[in-house]
Amino acid sequence: MSTNTENMEDLVGKDYEHGFVTDIDADTVAPGLNEETIAFISKKKEEPEWLLEWRLKAYRHWLTMEDPTWAHLDIEHIDYQAISYYSAPKSKDDGPKSLDEVDPKLLETYEKLGIPLQEQKFLAGVAVDAVFDSVSVATTFKGKLADAGVIFCSFSEAVKEHPELVKKYLGTVVPAADNFFGALNSAVFTDGSFVYIPKGVRCPMELSTYFRINASNTGQFERTLIIADEKSHVSYLEGCTAPMRDENQLHAAVVELVALEDAEIKYSTVQNWYPGDENGVGGIYNFVTKRADCRGNNSKVSWTQVETGSAITWKYPSCILKGDNSVGEFYSVAVTNNHQQADTGTKMIHIGKNTSSTIISKGISARHAQQSYRGLVKISKSAENARNYTQCDSLLMGDKCGAHTFPYIEAKNSSATVEHEATTSKIGDDQLFYCMQRGIKEEDAVNMIVNGFCKEVFKELPMEFAVEAQKLLGITLEGAVG
């Protein structure tokens, strides 16, 4: 937790730790988006006809849609024709069968980022499906998972190996025409992760995927689909860092979760993409659609996110609580510094009886950053005895930043109980003084207080993530107080 005592400006000026570029001869399609581009992607990935049709349908709908402008974000116009929609690292034949076959340069990249893939196997209980640009290049721990009957593979592999599952569930949580960025993703997604946990199985390890963005000007369109069959349980971790770039890079992912009866999915994210420099130049545009469908009775989905990166974040991991007694949770820490902008929150849609949801959102805004919590709690007429509790706190650091709260509550059932509380303040001078009087340096004191502020969320993260998250928080906020 403790940080060194370099002067604030030095700390703030510190380069993005993960900012370097790997030189790989990518197989990149020329920029531009039309039906041919989509056909190219689909062909390149040897997809069945129905999937191409699905993509094209999404694309045609997307053409009729407009960029959403309702978020509290200042987004420069995005030229979707200037983006290249496919980029795959070159590899021999059908791709690597084992780690030994992986491009050594890639492995080197991971090592620089502190994820020595070679050693991943020795890390207890963590399987890694690393996505480099748009194609999965390495997957480990397959054997152990296969023994349990768990399917954990890249999305493209799932299309080939488990088409019936993909066809049955794809687009059932986030329909192709759901929203602007979701539709775009449906049209041009390149790869992502696929997880299926069979009935009654408790996934024997935490599943994790590291997403990265590399090739210049390449939008990344991940598609993730996780299905937890009846009475199953899975914990999925997603984390990412990205190399430094001047241009804004668009990232529009879609994550779909399906929880059947008595199933539980825990989805944790640490997002640390390049936020741009201190003048707001560069950085990732992170426009993500994440949604869970608690389809079965007694199902549960828990979203935990620590968002410290990206120039702009637009993200609302949501739960549709269809099954009776189903439970949705959203725990979020979002940190914005310098010129970062974030508009994030969740939607809890209560449909089933006795459904309950909890929302804990902690926002920290520093310097010139603007951050908004945006949430919807909807109690349908059918949702007898639905319960929601929302706690939404914002911490401000510096007089040029902003913190905003936009919670929507819509209730149509008289037996429902909804409670929303929000606070916005700066770090208490008395708290800081107390710590400093006890001999703690100001920056450490701030760190302690901020970590305390976020504690409720951190405790929801798997251990190794919690440590990383705390570290990230410190780095992101270095020099923000003074």
Binding site: H72, T405, Y408, E410, E421, T423, T424
Partner: protein, 440 residues
């Protein structure tokens, strides 16, 4: 130009519009022509669909002389409240029923038409300066039709003890009427006053009230403002209160909404100088198919300003209520405290509440909180009462009443408080039971 605003335009042409204010009316009408009625696609109107108002063809030209008998007015007066009364019947000022003689020194209370003629300088300085025609098409529409309404001017260092009670009464007439009352309250330095605006339907007439009130508070001025909305259950009511506050001034606003088929109340407070404070209390009780929308917005424009807001709703039948409270702390407005709370009781499965407490904060030395709840009566309280021999039905009514009464009990004028308590009880199921219970 769409058909639904046509009759507003032709009615406008029939109005006498040859005074110094004519230009302003015309440009407001032009603005309304451009925008038309707001659509529910707009965020600000997301939960309120004004198409019923749009579809209905109201007459904006009032032919006065609907006779209201004194008994009808007596029935709605506050028992035991010694006040200055300004009465409008179907939008037209009634000198006969008003009591504007022998006003205190330093106080002007007059009909807006008279004020336009008598107090041109003051009006030119204040009228239309606080309610922005561009923000709501209804405000623009009101400005286009400024004729009747109340102008109040309280001079510096003047304390007016008697409340000023403005009654807008509506009654069935030959054609469905639209009225556009416009009020302007100007308070000088160190002045104090209490103003009550009551909008009351005397029968179940179908009409449309589109009211706008502008308030200017100079340094240290204190205004207590009550709005009691008791329109007919077939009436549409759009009301807009806009306040500009000077240094250390204080506005206490109480907004009670009981009537109306489709109601929208907007309050916009601008804390434009240090030390300004606004308190907003609101109560809405809905039943049948009523739709009541309360929107409030506070702009903390300067440091050391304070806002406190507490709105409560009790919803029954197939009614729907909307609450949207927005607090904006502007850049460099430090040392701000803003607290907001909205609590709702849903008594029926066919009722709906949509609530949205919003904070937009661009300064850091702030203490802002908001809370919103939707729920039922507290089970522990219910059990406690029942274990004290109170039957369940009575216990429920009693707790519902207590929930609403928390907002009324802090009203300082007993006659207003008592009348509101009676009105609130009257709105509740088992009114007779609670009356019995609360009558000593």
């Amino acid at each position: 130009m769409s058909q639904d605003i046509q009759n507003y335009i032709s009615d406008f042409d029939q109005l006498k519009n040859d005074d110094w204010f004519a230009k302003n009316r015309q440009s407001a009408l032009n603005l309304f022509k451009d925008t038309g009625f707001p659509s529910s696609r707009l965020e600000n109107w997301k939960y309120t669909d004004v198409r019923p108002i749009k579809k209905k063809s109201f007459s904006n030209v009032t032919e006065a002389d609907v006779s209201v008998i004194a008994d009808e007015i007596n029935a709605i007066r506050f028992d035991g409240l010694d006040c200055i009364e300004v009465v409008f019947i179907n939008g037209v000022f009634s000198k006969e029923h008003s009591s504007l003689e022998e006003l205190d020194n330093g106080l002007v209370v007059e009909n807006m038409l008279d004020a336009l003629a008598n107090d041109k300088d003051l009006l030119a300085k204040h009228l239309t300066k606080y309610a922005d025609d561009k923000i709501s098409p209804f405000t623009a529409l009101n400005t286009a039709f400024i004729q009747n309404g109340t102008f109040i001017n309280v001079s510096a260092n003047t304390v007016i003890e008697k409340p000023i009670n403005i009654l807008y009464l509506s009654k069935e007439s030959n054609s469905a009427l639209a009225t556009h009352p416009r009020n302007l309250i100007v308070m000088g330095e160190n002045s104090e006053a209490t103003v009550i605006e009551s909008y009351i339907g005397l029968d179940d007439a179908n009409y449309f009230t589109n009211a706008v009130t502008e308030v200017s508070l100079s340094t240290n001025a204190i205004l207590k403002h009550y709005k009691i909305q008791q329109e007919s259950l077939n009436a549409y009511h759009i009301g807009n209160l806009n306040v500009m506050q000077g240094k250390d001034s204080k506005l206490e606003s109480h907004s009670i909404s009981l009537g109306g088929a489709l109601v929208r109340n907007d309050i916009h407070g601008q804390l434009a100088a240090e030390g300004a404070e606004i308190i907003m209390n609101g109560l809405y009780m809905t039943g049948d198919k009523q739709h009541v929308d309360n929107h409030t917005r506070v702009d903390h424009l300067k440091p050391r300003t304070l806002s406190t807001e507490n709105y409560r709703g009790v919803l029954n039948g197939k009614s729907r209520a909307v609450f949207n409270g927005k607090v904006i702390v502007h850049k460099d407005a430090q040392k701000i405290e803003a607290h907001q709370n909205n609590a709702n009781l849903l008594l029926s499965d066919d009722a709906e509440i949509d609530t949205k407490p919003e904070l937009e904060i661009y300064a850091d030395d702030v203490k802002c909180t908001h809370g919103a709840t939707v729920g039922q009566l507290d089970q522990n309280m219910l059990f406690y009462l029942r274990s004290r021999a109170i039957d369940e039905e009575t216990a429920r009514s009693l707790l519902t009443y207590a929930f609403a009464d928390e907002l009324i009990s802090n009203i300082s004028f007993a006659p207003i408080r008592n009348r509101l308590e009676r009105l609130v009880i009257g709105q509740l199921p088992d009114a007779a039971l609670i009356r019995e219970f609360t009558n000593e």
